[in-house]
């Protein structure tokens, strides 16, 4: 294989990746990086972090303070929604490089302020992969400052002082000082130049890579002390619920609040004006009922009489729209990727296999429905909410209210789940608007579950159609995928009606298959509801369709699905899409130098998952294994699902084996929990997940008709196999990549057990006999 490593300038030919990594590890990633003039030691490899709005920060003065008693306070600036990244893993990275005892570390949540803290948009599985390097630098800088302060106190050379587990040791004499003893002196020092700091050798890590740090909020979570957006309480607070337009783009013709105002506890009714499309995160048209408790506000809302003009999306119907998307896929679309001559390849093929797949809209259904509290006093606004992008929310709120950003303060709470929903701060804007009406009293906007299911930002709906041409030797010689799905961009800009570069890079144009004639086209698809990111986004649909189709071809050919998948992926190599795609390949915002499409790594996770699952083992009747693999968020995941189907078509999942290669594994314990959870979210979307529309309105309303997988139907055991890598292998996404392979692996297992092929999600009652 050929591997280009930009930081080293090395081009290594015909060396296996494993050997190459060993080579780098033996000289140390830092040593190698330090040989490049001008390259900061901590930035041993480039990432897309600097391309994010406001980039990253590494200055310890921003993130760290040490009290006289030695307590280290670390600011968590990103949002904690359950991955553990923001409040546990990232602070753990700082603490390790600081040589701090994590038991003496306290975490405080930073307010929304990207100019200060750098990018805070906790989305796209980016926290660890963008922040491990700058936060190592941050901790190492602070360690150096403590050493400098101690050296000055002792009047010795700083080279004789070493920070060891919350103490400063003068090595020649054995004298010691606590971190708290010199904290004040250290804080007054300038941040050291990067050539003055020394990152720890990975062998000296206490926490990084170990998985030995408990989640910071564990005690508070298990005792009810943890505060989420729904839990914010402020003195004199009012409570609001809002009746929102049931159809995107709807407006209020008139409303009658006379009955609502008679409900005891109801204090005020406020109309919320809509913003014309594209409205980004601006609130929907609505009528807010403000009361002295949530229940009164809900009863008041029930008593409202509103006449809506449903607007341009009033005929949106998901049954008709599915047919529309499938029809679009029958004609040539916009070419998104092209290699060879697919038309000719298909025309001259000995056999063509054609299949269609469908994945519907989904709702995030975070266990904590959205909520925000706001208070407007003396021209200044304070907001308390659970937000994935607190800095972005601050700017959006200020813009919507015509305020100076400096006059808006956003306090972020814990998030009771995010999954992309809480990247959209519409609920915080709503609270801000109402705070202006009832100020100086604070007001909390509570979304009910029905609001959450019916007024969200939905996972797009996707129809994929494939044609595979086989030659006389049953080799795949031509491959055409046509995909139609309304675009997320419609939420932000005039509807492009085709996927934009980010969506193209979420599993559509990057299938790393070794086929000489390969084309990907997109059909026209107009958005009729708010489309938003949902954990792993378009990868859900494209991994489902692609990995199902691969297994279908294997079946047609009488081949083992794993062997056939590996054959289609082809030999270990770096796939360069630059000459095939019509829009520059996004690669999840990462440079392909650090994060290439490496089929060797994809093959490896397939082999590991299959081996650990006992692929090929004898199974009793009704039991089978199914496999799927997918690269997303620059991480490689292969999932093997074992399914047991009874004679009525009911199935259970005794076991799952997942192999994940996410580069250097910073917090293996939380990687495991993310993959365990991704299996359950995968099961929910595979079995139940569907938001449908009739007359422009969402038909589902609560957990009765938008069901989530429950404990008694969830996988009994998810076994997570983390591929071991050195720290020189760039860390990659963890929160999302476990989701996409699950549904196709499950459906491939169901097919192997029953012969029933699922091409439309959710599975629902398709298996009932």
């Amino acid at each position: 294989m050929t591997y280009h490593h930009r930081t080293s300038g090395l081009i290594i030919h015909n060396v296996s990746r494993r050997d190459m990594l060993k080579g780098i590890a033996s000289v140390g990633g830092l040593v190698l990086a330090a040989q490049i003039p001008g390259l900061r030691p901590a930035l041993a490899y480039p990432t897309g972090a600097d391309q994010m709005p406001n980039g990253v920060r590494s200055d310890p003065h921003l993130f760290l303070s040490i009290a006289k008693d030695g307590t280290v306070t670390i600011v968590a600036a990103r949002a904690e929604m359950g991955t553990g990244a923001a409040r546990t893993t990232l602070p753990m990275i700082i603490a390790d490089e600081l040589e701090a005892d994590f038991d003496r570390v306290r975490i405080v949540q930073g307010e929304g302020d990207e100019k200060k803290y750098g990018n805070q948009d906790t989305d796209g599985s980016r926290s660890v992969r963008h922040w491990i390097q700058p936060l190592r630098e941050c901790g190492a800088s602070a360690r150096r400052m403590l050493e400098q302060a101690a050296a000055k106190r002792w009047n010795v050379d700083v080279g004789e002082v070493q920070a060891v587990h919350h103490e400063l040791v003068h090595r020649p004499t054995g004298r010691k000082l606590g971190y708290g003893d010199v904290a004040e002196d250290a804080a007054a020092l300038p941040t050291p130049a990067v050539d003055q700091i020394h990152l720890k050798e990975p062998s000296a890590f206490r926490y990084i890579g170990k998985g030995n740090v408990a989640v910071v909020d564990l005690f508070d979570i298990t005792t009810g002390r943890a505060v989420y957006g729904q839990d914010v309480m402020r003195p004199g607070m009012k409570f609001a619920v809002i009746a929102r337009s049931p159809v995107l783009g709807g407006t209020i013709v008139s409303y009658d609040a006379s009955a609502a105002t008679k409900v005891p506890g109801v204090e005020k009714i406020v109309k919320i004006n809509p913003t014309p499309a594209p409205a980004k995160f601006a609130p929907l048209a609505g009528v807010a009922v403000i009361a002295n408790n949530t229940y009164a506000a809900m009863k008041g809302r029930d008593a409202l009489k509103i006449v809506w003009d449903d607007g341009p999306n009033k005929s949106y119907d998901s049954v008709a729209y599915k047919a529309h998307l499938e029809e679009a896929n029958k004609s040539p679309g916009k070419v998104e990727r092209n290699e060879g001559d697919t038309d000719k390849g298909l025309a001259s093929a000995a056999k063509v296999i054609t299949r269609e797949y469908y994945v519907p809209h989904l709702a995030h259904a975070t266990m904590e429905p959205p909520a925000a509290t706001a208070q407007f006093t003396n021209g200044k606004l304070e907001v308390w909410s659970s937000l994935q992008s607190p800095g972005g929310a601050r700017e959006d709120i200020a813009k919507h209210l015509g305020m100076d950003v400096a006059d808006v303060t956003v306090h972020n709470t814990l998030l009771g789940g995010g999954f992309g929903r809480k990247s959209k701060c519409d609920y915080a804007i709503e609270a801000a608007l109402l705070a202006k009406e009832v100020g100086p009293s604070p007001v909390k906007v509570v979304w009910t579950r029905e609001d959450d299911i019916q007024n969200g930002f939905y996972h797009t709906v996707t129809a994929d159609r494939f044609e595979a041409g086989l030659d006389a030797n049953n080799k795949v010689v031509a491959w055409r995928q046509r995909s139609s799905a309304p675009s997320i961009l419609s939420t932000f800009a005039p509807d492009p009606k085709h996927p934009f570069f980010i969506e193209l890079g979420l599993g559509l144009v990057d299938a790393p298959f070794n086929v000489p004639n390969l084309r990907v086209e997109s059909g026209e698809a107009e958005a009729h509801t708010r489309i938003g990111w949902f954990r792993s986004v378009n990868n859900i649909a494209h991994a489902f369709s692609t990995q199902s189709f691969v297994a279908e071809i294997a079946h047609e050919l009488g081949r083992d699905p794993k062997d056939f998948l590996l054959e289609l992926i082809g030999p270990a190599r770096i796939v360069d899409l630059s000459k095939q795609v019509t829009t520059p390949y996004w690669n999840n915002g990462e440079p392909t130098t650090s994060y290439p499409i490496d089929t060797g790594r994809l093959r490896h996770v397939v082999e590991v998952a299959a081996e650990r699952a006992g692929w090929g083992r004898q199974m009793p009747k009704g039991r089978a294994l199914g496999l799927a693999a997918h690269r997303s968020f620059v991480t490689y995941v292969a999932t093997v699902v074992e399914v047991a189907v009874d004679d009525k078509g009911h199935y259970s999942i005794p076991r799952i084996d997942v192999a994940i290669d996410c580069g250097y594994a910073v917090n293996p314990e939380r990687i495991r929990s993310q993959i365990e959870g991704a299996s359950v979210m995968g099961l929910t979307l595979a079995q139940y997940g569907e938001i449908t529309y009739k007359n422009g309105r969402v038909e589902q309303s609560n957990f009765n008709d938008f069901q989530l997988a429950r404990i008694n139907e969830s996988p009994t055991e998810t076994r997570v196999h983390i591929i071991e890598n050195g720290i020189d292998v760039p860390s990659s996404g963890v929160g999302e990549p476990g989701v996409p392979p699950f549904a196709p692996a499950l459906c491939n297992a169901i097919f192997a057990a029953t012969g029933k092929r699922i091409r439309r999600l959710p599975i629902g009652d398709q298996l009932s006999i």
Binding site: G82, T223, L414, G677
Partner: protein
């Protein structure tokens, strides 16, 4: 007027007797460990104990808890060290954590009645508590760890 004992303290409520216990606990008493998840007793996030039984606080009205003893997550153990809470921490169960108070209250009620449940009994008893993060594997293991004969 409704008199109710909450975590050992006598409380009086003079508002709408149809108000679900959930909103009295959260909005009036500030006991926000009892979470709002669905409002229709489908998710279990608001599970509390009423006279020792696991009950969804969103599905029971104030008039129905008159004279009863309510225990919320805040009152489960004075030190937060009920065996179920300890097991939850030992196994690192939570992800986002939002549903976990309800899960813990439900598990505590199960084990009070059935100290050594079978796997099927655990799954059946916990099936009313949703977790969108998907922590079920560890929830099951933590209930098992807190049970007799674990």
């Amino acid at each position: 007027m409704v008199n109710v004992q909450v975590n050992g303290q006598e409380r009086t409520f003079g508002g709408d007797p149809s108000m679900p216990l959930l909103w009295f606990l959260r909005d009036e008493l500030g006991l926000t460990g009892t979470k709002f998840g669905c409002g229709v007793a489908l998710c279990g996030a608001c599970t509390v104990h009423v006279n020792g039984e696991a009950v969804r606080a969103c599905g029971i009205q104030m008039s129905d808890v008159a004279g009863k003893k309510v225990v919320t997550i805040e009152g489960l153990d004075p030190n937060g060290s009920h065996p179920v809470q300890v097991a939850w921490r030992n196994l690192g169960v939570p992800q986002c954590g939002y549903c976990q108070c309800g899960q813990i209250m439900n598990a505590a009620a199960l084990l009070a009645k059935t100290p050594a449940p079978t796997d099927a009994e655990i799954d059946s008893a916990m099936a009313g508590n949703l977790c969108r993060c998907g922590c079920y594997q560890r929830i099951h293991a933590a209930v098992r760890a807190a049970s007799k004969g674990a």
